[in-house]
Amino acid sequence: MTIQPLIVKILTMSINIQFFASLREQIGKSQITLPYDAPLDVINVWAQATGDTAMPSNTLCAINMEYVKPNAVVKDGDEIAFFPPVTGG
């Protein structure tokens, strides 16, 4: 069996996913590395990372430390974070 060079390239794309606070406890993971092969938005990332668990409506999303909306598209190497409403200060 031979592997196509194009497919090898696509399979090397991946993102780093982080969960915090109550979401981290609900998901049961704090960090996942997700390889992917087609354009993904944040809501797709959540679905793939959580096995299609429903995202709580008040979930906040960030890409590379900046808040984004769930329809934001990720790119290779991004860090995607999911967390509940913040309660600092």
Binding site: F20, L60, P84, V86, T87, G88
Partner: protein, 147 residues
């Protein structure tokens, strides 16, 4: 660096004084406004013994650094400062300090409050209360230790 994250108890008045001494010339500013948020020892439930403050370290630092820059652009300031705890916090201990130095009091007051309101609304920290019955995440509508 005007945004400081600490995993240990701190004295806010020492932090203000040290920052002021190291960063500003006496006589340079006319107005200093500051705010300290600390953990109260009573809450919805009397049995809260202490608190754990989780955060998203890289994003927290980035958010607070950017907040200080935005604050300096929005108001006429000599300097501003944010200090925030994370980790285990005991009742009575300070959690957060914001401060702003300006020529005029309106800018100092408004900047200090802007820092706190933005931090409360958006900085990625999460409080978990530890009670005799176990642990529970704090929700915004509980207004737990300060608000």
């Amino acid at each position: 660096m005007p945004a400081i994250l600490l995993d240990r108890a701190f004295n806010p008045w020492d932090e203000i004084q040290d920052f002021q001494t190291n960063t500003l010339r006496p006589g340079q500013f006319g107005a200093t406004a500051s705010f300290v948020g600390s953990m109260r020892d009573f809450n919805i439930n009397e049995s809260v013994t202490h608190m754990t403050l989780e955060h998203y370290p890289a994003m927290t630092q980035h958010f607070l650094d950017t907040l200080c820059e935005r604050c300096k652009q929005k108001f006429t300031l000599d300097e501003c400062l944010v200090v925030h705890r994370f980790g285990d916090i005991q009742p009575g201990e300070p959690i957060v300090l914001t401060a702003a130095w300006s020529a005029h009091r309106a800018d100092a007051f408004n900047a200090c409050r802007f820092l706190m309101e933005e931090l409360k609304a958006h900085a990625p920290f999460w409080k978990k209360e530890v009670t005799d019955a176990g642990e529970r995440w704090v929700h915004n509508d509980q207004k737990p230790v300060n608000s």
